[in-house]
Structures are given as C-alpha cells and as structure tokens.
Amino acid sequence: MRNVIRYSLKLIPLLLFALALSTKAQDARLHFEHLTGLETKARDVVEVNIDGKVLDLAKRVLVKVNDPDAKKVGQAIAGLQAIYVRAYTFENAGEYNPGDIDQIRAQLQGPGWQRLANVRSKKDNQKIDVYTMFTGDTMSGVAVIMSQDKAVALVNVIGPIDIDLLAELGGKLNIPEMDIDTGGSKDKPKN
C-alpha cells in the first residue's frame, strides 16, 4: 500500500507536466468566432475544423492510401493535433471589415507566438503573416493569416508540422494548388 502511494506521488508531477504541456499547446488555438458574419457576405466559404477522432481517422487514411505523396503528407503532419481553417472569397473589394482580421492578428501578439514571415504587397493590398509557437524545442502551433481586397484565409495549426515539406506538397496528391488568378475566370460555382 505504501509503495502504491509512493508511486502515485511520483506520477503526480509527471501528470502535471503533461497537463501543462497540453494547456500550452491549447494556447496556440486562435479564436475565429467573430468571423461568423463573413459567411453570408462571401461568395465562396471554406470552414474546416479537424481535431480529435476525425483527425486520427484522416491520418489512418493517409497511412492506408498507398501513395508516396500521401506518405509525405502523413510524415509532415505526424504530430498534428488539430487544424482550423477559414477561407472567404468575395465578389468585390471592401466586403469585409479589415478590423476583423486585425483582431486575429492581435491574438498573435500574445506570448509564445513568433512571426516567421510576413509578406506585404500593394497589389490587391495583400498581407500574409506566418507565425509559429514553440514549447521548448517543439513546435506547438502555426498560424497563417492572409488578407487581400477580395479574399481572406486563416489557418491555425495545433501541434508540430513540417512547414517546408507542406509548402512543397502544394498541388500534389489530392491537395489542389489553389492558385486562382485574381483576374482569371477559374471561379467555381458555389454549391
């Protein structure tokens, strides 16, 4: 009985450490709630929330699919815990409030987030920011914020991913390289 208590006492710090890690990882979660109004204004909307069992299921499919690119994707997201994506495309410029996106960017000014890259272009008033969060040496989150006159895309990744490998995989496998030209006519009809 005494041994059981002794081992339990030893386990408590480990459990607290694990809890602290998980709490820290959850800190990488961004809040998109105030963007719900954009759904009605946008021409095209993509909202994806994958975590928990759905993510585990998708990872198992990646293993099951006998494709080298799928293996690469599986390798790139092996430690992924969740991924949340919001993407909106508008018919005309000025259909969304830039303040909503700045509010998301403000969340990234909190502790833990580090800006990895930012791109500013006068063409279409394009702004792209990539932020990462690290817990020790381990990546615990990634955030990508893209905004321009007629489009907004927000990506929030919880857990480590291979950014370089994922960037290379654009357009491969079943990941379409969604390079819709600003003045092109590749727009797909909304379902």
Partner: protein, 185 residues
C-alpha cells in the same frame, strides 16, 4: 560367505579369496594407470541382406514399367484407329495429311505435338492502371474515412498553398496568384 571379510577384510573366506586371486590381474593400483589389452580384435561386420530395400526397389521399378505402359497405350499414334480420330478432331491445328502408304507395316511417326492454347491478355496501359489504383483506393474507404480525409486535404491544401505563396515571395518568385478557397462549404 563371511560378510566381515567381504566388507571389512577381517577374518578369512576361501571362496572370496579364490575369486580375488582369479581377478588379481584387474586389481586397482594407484601407482599405474589401467593398461589396455595387448590385442584388440575387431570383429568383421556381419553383412545382412536388406529385404526392405529390395522390396522397395522392385515396387518402384514395377510402378515405372506400369506408368510407361499406360502412357504408351494412351498415345494415339500407336493405334491407327484412334490416330485417325485424333487427326480429325485436331484438323484445324494440324496440317499434316495422312495418306495410306504402300507399306503394310504401320509407320511410327514422331509423337504429335499438343496444340498450344495461348490466353491473350491485353497490355495494361497507364490509363487503366490509374483507374484501377483509384478504384482500389476508394473502395477501401468508408464514408467517414472519406469525409475525414477530404476535410484534412482541404485544410492542408489551403495551408500548403499559403505557405508556398509565402515561400515563393521570400525566394523572389513573385507569382501572379493569390490564395482563395477552391472548395465550397
């Protein structure tokens, strides 16, 4: 028999002493190692006739003879009446005319080759292979798996596209494209 003499060598016992004298050549001596006998006789191995081996050999030989006989009897070229039927049934494959010759004795022709049957399989093209692989991939996925996979791929598509866009900008490849959703909710 005197047990005292036998176990403790006290007293006398003529019977045991007699045996000891008979066997004194083999008496243990701590000073000398045991000596080998002066002559070793190797008895010749008695050769025995193995009836089992002989029986097995005879049975095997008989089986071979019977098998050869059956094969010989079943070959049509050895029976003129069966040979004509065989040629008739295989006339499409065999172009050797059988004409009665002047000889009364049957001519032993070489065994006729059995017609080959070739199963033609169309070559697998890349297109058919791709269709098969896709079907194989899809037939194994449950609706839940497919939904989860599609959701993840959509999320990764947007993520990878954004990351690639940034990477291209940083590397100086200012491409004429922007990120935008491809799939609708």
């Amino acid at each position: 028999m005197n047990d005292e003499y036998l176990w403790n060598k006290t007293g006398t016992d003529s019977e045991i002493e007699g045996l000891e004298n008979e066997l004194k050549a083999f008496r243990f001596s701590a000073d000398q190692p045991p000596a080998l006998p002066a002559r070793i006789e190797v008895l010749p191995e008695k050769r025995t006739f193995n009836f089992f081996k002989l029986g097995f050999a005879v049975a095997f030989a008989a089986a071979v003879v019977v098998a050869m006989t059956l094969i010989w009897l079943r070959t049509p070229v050895n029976h003129p009446e069966k040979r004509s039927e065989f040629v008739k049934s295989n006339s499409e494959n065999v172009a050797v005319p059988i004409s009665p010759g002047p000889f009364s004795t049957p001519i032993m022709d070489p065994p006729m080759p059995k017609p080959k049957v070739i199963n033609f399989k169309p070559p697998t093209t890349n297109a058919t292979r791709a269709v098969k692989i896709t079907a194989k991939k899809e037939e194994k996925l449950t609706p839940e798996e497919k939904h989860a996979y599609d959701q993840l791929m959509t999320a990764l598509a947007i993520t990878s596209n954004e990351l690639k866009l940034v990477k291209d900008k940083i590397n100086g490849r200012d491409v004429e494209r922007t990120a935008a959703p491809d799939r609708q909710k």
